[in-house]
């Protein structure tokens, strides 16, 4: 058994990488983060064990690269949600959701992204975040609650937006 051509990996998982990045940095910077992630993955790819879970591997790389980019942007530019509001994407409703995820506190953002966008198990989420599984579950639950609140406000107070 050997590794499939990286082109096939991109075909299968690029959309997931992009979604993970959108959740962390918002729609505007997502493609830059995803490009960083795919290049980093390509660099490391030959050393990967052929029986690895490629999707989970790419989710963690995408998450790390997006967090790096969010940190750099955070130092030098307004937060992602403000940037996204200034440059709305082609799907405003969807873009608003991604921006809302990106605007969550860091731990909630990571937990929600890894669990619900990346579809990782809580054990993997916890390992990636360097916290206990219980703490990862709590962060994800808090994040979801915040998103639900945001969603309710968004749909009741601004119905025409």
């Amino acid at each position: 058994m050997s590794l499939p051509p990286f082109a096939a990996v991109v075909d299968e998982h690029a959309a997931t990488v992009l979604r993970v990045c959108r959740a962390v940095v918002g729609p505007t910077d997502a493609e830059d983060a995803a490009a960083d992630a795919l290049l980093a993955a390509l660099e490391a790819y030959p050393r990967l064990r052929p029986d690895s879970d490629l999707r989970a591997w790419l989710v963690t790389i995408a998450h790390r690269k997006a967090v790096d980019l969010a940190r750099r942007r955070g130092r030098s530019a307004p937060v992602a949600s403000v940037a996204a509001a200034a440059h709305p994407g082609p799907e405003p409703a969807d873009g608003a959701l991604w921006s809302a995820v990106a605007a969550l506190p860091v731990k909630q953002r990571s937990a929600v992204t890894l669990r619900y966008v990346g579809d990782l198990a809580y054990a993997e989420v916890a390992a990636e975040m360097g916290v206990s599984e219980a703490a990862a579950r709590r962060s994800a639950a808090d994040g979801l609650a915040a998103l639900r609140l945001h969603h309710r406000r968004h749909t009741t107070e601004e119905p025409t937006r």
Binding site: S2, L3, P4, P5, F6, A7, A8, V10, A14, A15, V17, L18, R19, A23, A30, E31, A34, A35, L38, L39, L42, E43, Y45, P46, P90, E91, D94, L97, Y116, V117, D119, L144, L147
Partner: protein, 210 residues
């Protein structure tokens, strides 16, 4: 829960990511194999190149996905669809199929042909345009008379058909014999070189969109 994150129209973004990755990988020296598909009068062809040269040409009937998997296993898994490395091979193939080129002048990477197959591949390069040679005669040229069958295997597993002209190796009775791209493709190529057929219109060898 995941329905909170509906799949957006991501096709365009993924396309942009693919080309950014290909150019970034090439610039960083991370591209083991670059490939592209081209249409040709003998069906869609897969062209693949390493930094050393063209490493694989595969016919549609051989399965492009299978050829790419073989490249990933035998050359390296950093295999991406990418243009620049294949521009010159594509141009020369178009010239060949339209009757404007008789010799290929391309750097080749013969790493997929080992041992006796390497010797067959090198002997193939010595068969001129429009010339045909029998399997046994080619074996004799290699200094291995009696190895006609091994020559046949070497031709069947030629990693660079068309460029290394295994289509010019035919049966002693004059029939065309087997061909990796199918007997019709072999006949088409032999007819082209005999001048029995008008060259293919240029439109037949246009590069397919990625």
């Amino acid at each position: 829960m995941t329905d909170l994150f509906p799949a957006a129209a991501e096709g365009d973004a993924v396309g942009r990511l693919r080309s950014r990755l290909a150019s970034g990988a090439d610039a960083a020296g991370l591209l083991d194999v670059a490939y592209r598909s081209v249409d040709s009068p003998v069906g869609p062809l897969l062209l693949a190149a390493t930094p050393l040269g063209v490493v694989r040409i595969a016919f549609d009937v051989q399965g492009h996905d299978a050829a790419l998997a073989e490249l990933a296993a035998n050359v390296g898994p950093r295999v991406l669809r990418a243009g620049a490395r294949l521009d010159e091979p594509t141009r020369q193939l178009e010239e060949f199929f339209t009757g404007r080129r008789r010799r290929f002048e391309l750097p080749l990477d013969l790493r997929l042909a080992g041992g006796f197959r390497r010797r067959v591949a090198e002997a193939l390069a010595g068969i001129g345009y429009g010339e045909t040679v029998g399997y046994g005669a080619l074996a004799a040229r290699l200094g291995a008379p009696g190895a006609a069958r091994a020559v046949g295997t070497g031709c069947a597993r030629n990693p660079l058909p068309v460029v290394l002209p295994c289509h010019r190796v035919v049966r002693a009775d004059g029939s065309v014999g087997d061909y990796a791209g199918g007997a019709d493709a072999k006949r088409w190529l032999l007819d082209l070189e005999r001048g029995d057929r008008g060259p293919a219109p240029a439109a037949a060898c246009r590069v397919q969109p990625a």
